[in-house]
Symmetry: C2
């Protein structure tokens, strides 16, 4: 590879890394670039947009996106809908997992990645395991309600049959600010 | 109360206790009798029937029922539907929680009880907590996949905001036999 070519590749990787945020570790996003053969769309941006839309509807502002890891196609994108649907299980992750699986016509999302603005709770983490999600990218950590790095730590349980690759802290500040603003407005 | 009246009450309580099964503890079913003012229908029987129907459809034979604790009305009854709906989250508990909440027009099942033939997994246990289910009655214990007495022990986590009264082991042998038969047929 020529020096110019190498520089080009490094620039793409740097942009990807910055886009992914300070908390990112591992090779996930870089592998995406190779797998997709083009600039990776910012799926976390899409999740953040869904979170914002949820907040404007009066729902807790969390958003999620399911992406086909091989093609980069968005299979589902949604925000929280617990109030809208009168459904205590309608967290953003559950909504997109159900929609993506229905679209694929199978109860598994093999090879798919999930982007969500907040650390999933135990319910969503277990669902992510059942769905066989390949990689999980999440934004803000959730010490009070999270089920991955906190609380039940679902993927560390011996009863967990599938653990995705997990990348936390992506756009953590922006994702968390949405939630802080939402709850501050309600106090 | 006359001796005959007291005997009558005791007989009702004994029938209730036997109906509920050997693993039952606490005062849940007796309170039901008082609240409903009549013989309690066997909701676990209904859950077992739903489990059997699920097995005949090729789904893992687990069934669940949501009951309004004040009236004794069944708000939802279903078996597993993960294959049928192409939905990895469509465990029997999730299906009935969603249906009952939609029927009530609220994301909470305050004052409702859930009967299920198998110890709920971590996903369902967390959903039961979010739904604010009053009492949970389950059949067979699940050392491999359960999330209440095993694995993540969701209701024992400091991040759990609502814990129902839990009664396990109700009709445990029959509930477990359905599952054993189902998996034995597939070996």
């Amino acid at each position: 590879m020529s020096p110019a070519g190498l520089l080009s590749v490094l620039c793409v990787l740097r942009v990807k890394f910055e886009n992914a945020g300070a908390g990112l570790t591992g090779l996930g996003p870089e592998r995406h670039v190779a797998a997709m053969g083009r600039e990776k769309p910012s799926f976390m941006e899409r999740a953040i947009a869904e979170a914002g839309a949820a907040g404007r509807r009066g729902e807790v502002p969390v958003g999620a996106v399911v992406v086909d890891g091989a093609t980069g196609n968005v299979l589902a994108a949604a925000g929280n809908r617990t109030g809208d649907l009168s459904d205590p299980t309608a967290h953003a992750e559950m909504v997109v997992i159900r929609e993506a699986a229905a679209g694929l016509g199978a109860p598994r999302l093999d090879g798919c990645d999930l982007y969500v603005t907040l650390e999933p709770c135990a319910m969503c983490a277990a669902a992510i395991g059942f769905a066989r999600v390949r990689r999980l990218y999440f934004g803000a950590y959730d010490a009070k309600g999270g089920g991955i790095e906190h609380g039940a730590r679902i993927f560390d349980q011996p009863t967990c049959h599938h653990k995705p690759d997990v990348f936390g802290g992506i756009e953590e500040t922006r994702c968390g600010a949405l939630l802080k603003g939402f709850f501050a407005d309600r106090r």
